[in-house]
Symmetry: C2
Subunit: 345 residues, 2 copies
DNA sequence: TTGAAAGCGTTACCAT
DNA sequence: ATGGTAACGCTTTCAA
């Protein structure tokens, strides 16, 4: 049977040229695919004559050849991708900075960080979706993945799984980071300052509960049995929502508020001040995350600081774990939440 | 020759089990790989008996089988990955929100958004690195990629390339977004308010110049030939840096400042107020990005708002472009920069 | 209803 | 020094 070479498929008019492959480069340069591979990867083991190298390079240039990462990974049996699921809510400044540092540090170690939109799925289902990419390591920034999920990832070739979560997860390098600690610290601080009727801001908005729920819970826990009360205060990140909350403030009878984080604290504090509520005389306010803006407010904002690991440290941990996956997860102290007492409480 | 099956490589002690493949599932279930594929992908065209389906599912479960995305993409010849290079600097709140929306909207359209750390490389070199992933679409959030880069991506199978940049890029759906407009608007506004000696804050820090340079340049441009002066004000995002700048303020002799964005404006405004400089009487301040916090400052912060496309709109644009790559890039008006005049100017 | 086989793009091994 | 070939894991067409 005669095969007509390169008959264009009779579908679309622009006839989308197929993506050039290394075989195309080889054909154009008049060499074999192996030679193309050697030249383009600067393989030291094999010597290729200079003229040949040149021909191959020119051919690749001419065709606009770009190697196919998936094919390469398939062949190699591994990749240098470090996977980082994206958060369920827009990231705050603290986290953005952290991700940026982490990414930069890993890039210097020749890894590629991929933030992957793992929408909808949760827990060990999500782990399966991540495992499809066969990352060499995974950093899970929220709780929710369990030992099963970790096992799936490891069976799929992940040499390191690092979790940031309250409880250590079997099989993972568990960096213990409990947002409930933030709530606990804030509430304990307010209680120690003599406050007894404490509001806790709970941001509205999909995905926010991942962080707000533990912060609320921690506050409740710290105050249980003390006789102090905790009042949940839903609040959207808008002037209107804050004004509405401030308008019904006197009816709530609160003498303190833990405002979820510094940004919400600023929002609420302004609304309260507008309606004549004095801070900290009438109500003590505590934020969290120790953002720059907290120091700029008047009164200066008390806040709870979390000792996040630096991006560089975490990158180096990942690298060590990848190089030696057999090593037991390094134990470490939970990241503490420290109250930074300023003027608002 | 007799081949000893599954001889473990005599290397490491924990003998890392190889990752289970669909062949392993097939073997365990006593069927062929094709059947496994049919069952696991719910192929409608072929009917598989219920008992077989069950056996396959159980085998997959037991082995912890997860399909290999790279292999699948290789075989399919395409993917649903939308690539988004990460910014060279930590993202601000405006951008974080945008990315989150964009990702959510694309997920609903069954795309997978991947943020890819494209560190170091720039322009068309970066494009080559992105092309290795064979994304179906690419959203380039910074200028720097040229027609060459777009061509590389398209030749590599990208059916849509969307750029957010000042000048339209040949071959791409170019959303025209010029940060110089922000600088122009701010400067023109300050000039119209009678200010003539105008400072422009330039954030320090790697990667910031991508946005700060055009904003500065736009300010210069708007004032050239008017007799007004532009003074460059390097500023790190810290209280100390702001205090240092405020300390030498009177020597600068400025009557207005465009503070890069609302966050820097807040930082500088506070430092100025601390040293007794009155806003807006002594110095007019304009921020940018129209963040919530600008409305919370006193005096309320004037700002320049950029009409970013919503994540949903952009997602739908990407989807349309992917479905019909032949269509000419949809023309559109450049996104305007609008001055929101409040009290600080 | 199920199985065999080809092929996606790449690279490593083994001939030449 | 270079080229043929097999194999990575998966899907799909064709044949039984």
């Amino acid at each position: 049977m005669v095969q007509i070479p390169n008959t264009p498929a009779p579908t679309k008019s622009p006839a989308p040229r197929p993506v050039p492959t290394s075989a195309d480069v080889a054909r154009l340069a008049g060499v074999s695919r192996a030679t193309v591979s050697y030249v383009l990867n600067n393989a030291g083991a094999v010597r290729i004559s200079e003229p040949t190298r040149l021909r191959v390079r020119q051919a690749a240039e001419e065709l606009g050849y770009v190697p196919h990462a998936a094919a390469r990974a398939l062949r190699a049996g591994h990749s240098r991708v470090v996977l980082m699921p994206t958060l369920p809510a827009p990231a705050g400044p603290l986290y953005s900075q952290f991700v940026h540092d982490f990414q930069g540090a890993l890039a210097r170690l020749e890894y590629t960080v991929v933030q992957y939109g793992a929408t909808g799925l949760c827990g060990d289902d999500a782990a399966r979706a991540w495992a499809e990419l066969r990352p060499v390591a995974v950093l899970v920034p929220t709780p929710g993945i369990g030992p099963e999920g970790v096992a799936v990832l490891k069976r799929s070739g992940a040499r390191a799984v690092v979790t940031l979560s309250p409880a250590p997860v079997e099989g993972a390098h568990a960096l213990r980071l409990d947002h409930a600690d933030v709530g606990r610290s804030a509430a304990a601080h307010l209680y120690a300052r003599g406050r007894r009727r404490i509001g806790v801001v709970v941001p509205e908005g999909r995905g926010m509960e991942v962080f707000s729920a533990p912060r609320l819970h921690g506050s409740r826990e710290a105050l249980s049995g003390t006789g102090a009360t905790v009042t949940e205060l839903p609040l959207a990140y808008s002037e209107e929502s804050a004004a509405a909350l401030a308008a019904r403030w006197s009816g709530l009878g609160l003498d303190a508020v833990f405002a979820y984080n510094d940004e919400y604290a600023m929002l609420l504090m302004r609304a309260l001040q507008e309606t004549g509520v004095r801070v900290p005389e009438d109500v003590a306010v505590v934020g969290a995350d120790d953002l720059v803006l907290g120091r700029l407010l008047r009164p200066r904002l008390s806040t709870v600081r979390i000792a996040l690991p630096s991006g560089r440290e975490l990158a180096s941990l990942v690298d060590r774990a990848v190089r030696n996956p057999a090593a037991a997860p390094e134990p470490h102290e939970p990241f503490g939440a420290t109250v930074v007492h300023r003027e608002s409480s």
